[in-house]
Symmetry: D2
Subunit: 337 residues, 4 copies
Amino acid sequence: MIIVLKPGATEKQLKHIVDRLKKLGLKPMISRGTERTIIGAIGEEDILRAQPLEVFPGVDKVMAVVAPYKLVSREFKHEKTVVSVGKVKIGSKKLVVMAGPCSIENHDMLLKIAKSVKKAGATILRGGAFKPRTSPYAFQGLGEEGLKYLHQAGKETGLPVVTELMDIRDIDLVERYSDMIQIGARNMQNFNLLKEVGLSKKPVLLKRGISSTIKEWLMSAEYILANGNFNVVLCERGIRTFEDATRFTMDVSAIPLVKKLSHLPVIADPSHATGKWGLVEPVACAAIACGCDGLMIEVHNKPEEAFSDGEQSMLPEKFNDMMKRFKPIAKSVGRDV
Amino acid sequence: MIIVLKPGATEKQLKHIVDRLKKLGLKPMISRGTERTIIGAIGEEDILRAQPLEVFPGVDKVMAVVAPYKLVSREFKHEKTVVSVGKVKIGSKKLVVMAGPCSIENHDMLLKIAKSVKKAGATILRGGAFKPRTSPYAFQGLGEEGLKYLHQAGKETGLPVVTELMDIRDIDLVERYSDMIQIGARNMQNFNLLKEVGLSKKPVLLKRGISSTIKEWLMSAEYILANGNFNVVLCERGIRTFEDATRFTMDVSAIPLVKKLSHLPVIADPSHATGKWGLVEPVACAAIACGCDGLMIEVHNKPEEAFSDGEQSMLPEKFNDMMKRFKPIAKSVGRDV
Amino acid sequence: MIIVLKPGATEKQLKHIVDRLKKLGLKPMISRGTERTIIGAIGEEDILRAQPLEVFPGVDKVMAVVAPYKLVSREFKHEKTVVSVGKVKIGSKKLVVMAGPCSIENHDMLLKIAKSVKKAGATILRGGAFKPRTSPYAFQGLGEEGLKYLHQAGKETGLPVVTELMDIRDIDLVERYSDMIQIGARNMQNFNLLKEVGLSKKPVLLKRGISSTIKEWLMSAEYILANGNFNVVLCERGIRTFEDATRFTMDVSAIPLVKKLSHLPVIADPSHATGKWGLVEPVACAAIACGCDGLMIEVHNKPEEAFSDGEQSMLPEKFNDMMKRFKPIAKSVGRDV
Amino acid sequence: MIIVLKPGATEKQLKHIVDRLKKLGLKPMISRGTERTIIGAIGEEDILRAQPLEVFPGVDKVMAVVAPYKLVSREFKHEKTVVSVGKVKIGSKKLVVMAGPCSIENHDMLLKIAKSVKKAGATILRGGAFKPRTSPYAFQGLGEEGLKYLHQAGKETGLPVVTELMDIRDIDLVERYSDMIQIGARNMQNFNLLKEVGLSKKPVLLKRGISSTIKEWLMSAEYILANGNFNVVLCERGIRTFEDATRFTMDVSAIPLVKKLSHLPVIADPSHATGKWGLVEPVACAAIACGCDGLMIEVHNKPEEAFSDGEQSMLPEKFNDMMKRFKPIAKSVGRDV
């Protein structure tokens, strides 16, 4: 930790800080510059992080030297993590494609979509039974009934299934019926929910919050790993910016950057990032080209009648055509799909 | 709802949409412009909102005419709502000042701060027993023990108390020990938590999410009202922007705007918005001048030793001085403090 | 244009607006909804755009139906524009790669870099003689001397050259020594500069402003076309967001979206978007995969000694390796490089 | 400057950096931490700022210790600057109110508005002769004719006048007819324009760019001071954020913060920040309460017929009423209006 003093900081103020650092078991190193005095605190940075150093008399600012996350970092574990969801390996050479409807609406529709996405090459089935909706008057999901349909569709097609958990009270239900637990963007900093899935044996798909920095996202993953669950897959799904021509702005550079910082696999969700099915394909291609480990894509056989997110859902035929176009791109960066 | 067709939309596509509108019980009005055809759908806009109209063939975009919130709107209830927390009325002529430490650390410290803020004129005591922390390694709050200290400090000083609820499982605890339930920024779209506090009899303080639009904030309040609890106070606490000189950017114009759109009281939290205690006073004054119904301010007797948010906490003496300076400003806009 | 009236708008207010519309030669169509009355104004939307309709008594909001740009739109010109810069065609099957140093520092260094990027496959040489620098104390570019070096390096290698114009007074100089005029992000809304390059015969490279919407970007291009110069190439170079792990956030979805809205070619600048040379390759690959017509990349033979932007500049050998990896990706989306 | 090395940085890399620092005349101080080695470089930080240190082998990140601006800082000049515009003093106890129409439309209208704002208490007349408009098809201002009307209206009412300069070629014209030169938000980083007004004898009103950090804004002011003109007034006019309920987001905390960092006066423009005349008053009151030195407000006698920005312009009567309500607020913070 670097502590920069104010121009007029007194010797007494300096001594006060130095004493405190020593008391905490840290070794202070003082550099008296032409314009400012700075103190380098050598030792466990985490001890210092808990101190409100900026409030000490004479302190101008405090700058961290090391990142606050440990278990998710490449420094902690150098080799890339491969997360298994059923027989599917996420983080291996083969890209994972999770596809399915935004909301589970009924058994037949889900099964029909599941079959078509499987045929097109998807390897995990997605579908929401609990839906976080901005409006209390919008469709909130089928709940357990939906989970049952999802489980059945997974069994009938042989696809592992992933679904969102919104409420701690539903964790047993979601664990029972699904192969992977999704934490949605709105719950990325629902820390108690993170702790619970950290105690679960199921792999977790952690979406990035719409206004979360990469550092905060990794810290949320750290919550899950710190509670014992190392099977975490990160999902970039667009951040909120001033641009309103798309629903969110896909932060494509986050993908290679997170892969440098962390050993966890990273996938991309172009459906939510763009909010427009016509942009799903080019943005998915971009994500593949810059190294993502997979994609999550909304597919619906009748977008016109979808209960949610119809605008960003693709028809199965279009999804099928797109999957074919993914192949050469994946190959061009040394991956399969 | 206004449906704008693409330039080359066909008669068949137009008919398809018109038929659907009629089937939904709406009355379509077609305007053929020089450049585009538009359809106005007359009737309950909520029916249409559930339809993924943008995905219909020939549709370019869909524009809403009315706001999606009902119960929180001025159109639903014209007179300003006054929320009672114990004997304190929020939304009346007298501004409410909620003050106290970020985290409850122990009984003595809390009581000491409580007494000093009461003396300075604060009317509600704040303090966190459950703390949402970015890092799993940071202090997470004292839990029930903290709630007990808060309750005691409230009793000893006669101040009603407000504290954050993060986890649905803790709602009984928080209800038992506090007079007002705070929903933090990170949980503004934790819809199940909103539903639960909607069923509670305690008043709710709903903080704005750091990247939530005003519309989304009001929709989250709508969740609470729609579940039966009309005692909601909104709290502007800064939004996330590109500017990093302050922790967040206080959206001061949100205060008068929300007061036009909604009947609910609105307070401001300059401590979190700025993240620097030296900016708390000027930003608090700004909030008073533009019509807020109160303030929430972090006060700590030893910010240097605070377990959290020391940088943005004020010393009791400074808080006391500041309260004096609030008086003439409040008076200048027809309020008391 | 759609005019939505307030709930309590009077008949007199309605008549006042209708009269005004008729006076402007527009045909008003009134729809009386259950909650609101709306007026559709049929005719030239541009006439209305100049009217401050939102200020009329009784008006709640005004919504545009058509986009405000004309000449840059796909509706005005359906076929993709191909812009010629010397013998290089931008917007054709072959991707253009513009490469070179951020600043021109001296003749030898520039020529050395020019030769190496040409060998690696770049087809246009970039280099700044006028540098927009945040600090008045930073290196501001060599001016005319730099332009001469650029011109020479272009001649010796056979590469056309592009350089930034910041000041209207320098347009003759820049026209004399370069083959393409770059308008930087900071000048995207320097409308007088846009008008001047609109009168030039040289092709223009228009970078997106760091906080410009896609609509504003296209409107700035419209300024150039409206003044007679149709040879405009757009360049996405990252937007400013809350994320500070990268210098800017590359808005990769803007590439396919702009290509839908406009006939102009679009290239991407991953060096400025990321600000880190280690992220240039993956982000460039992403841009190719989603359909960009080319790239602009900073290359420097001694980044450690660069006068500007050393952190985001690539070594020639790394650039050469990267160019090889671009080939299969370009091919996978039907392009060459 | 603090240089943080990567975990695996070698002794050779460390030596390479240390040698470079010494060659630059700086004194390196090495601290070997448990996790990282850091180097503090003691001496003129500006020397280092010009070095692309992040690109040196083994370097992880580089952190500045002092701010990059000098002349505008409180450290350079402790006492508050008072800028004179004719007989008006900006930065003194009395708040300045600059008022007038967005665009100058004709002589009579301008004179009428000038008289009414003077009567209401405004002390500077504003009006645009050159208008930066997003669309090339929108009204671009009357040019010199407008400047003449402005000059005349100033003379007839005795009010000094301020108007925007967009183009270096117009500086003589603007100097001739006005008392203060405005640099608009879009030109805040038009560095050549800043240099020119730095050479002018007229005081300058420097608006903050819509996506400029406070640091960049101060650096732009530094350009003007570094060229010899110390009469600079800063104007906060809202930044671009995700919130679209207002045209921009007034960053009210920037006012007290800039006043801590710099000796220059700071005013606020609530008309552009909100884009809605109904929000101008509360936001202006907020700006006064947090210490601004004045306001810039758009007033129009017939907003319905305004050539630009009608939505955010106030009627003279409303402006007059508002000015009365400003008085007690100004007084409550020790100021006059």
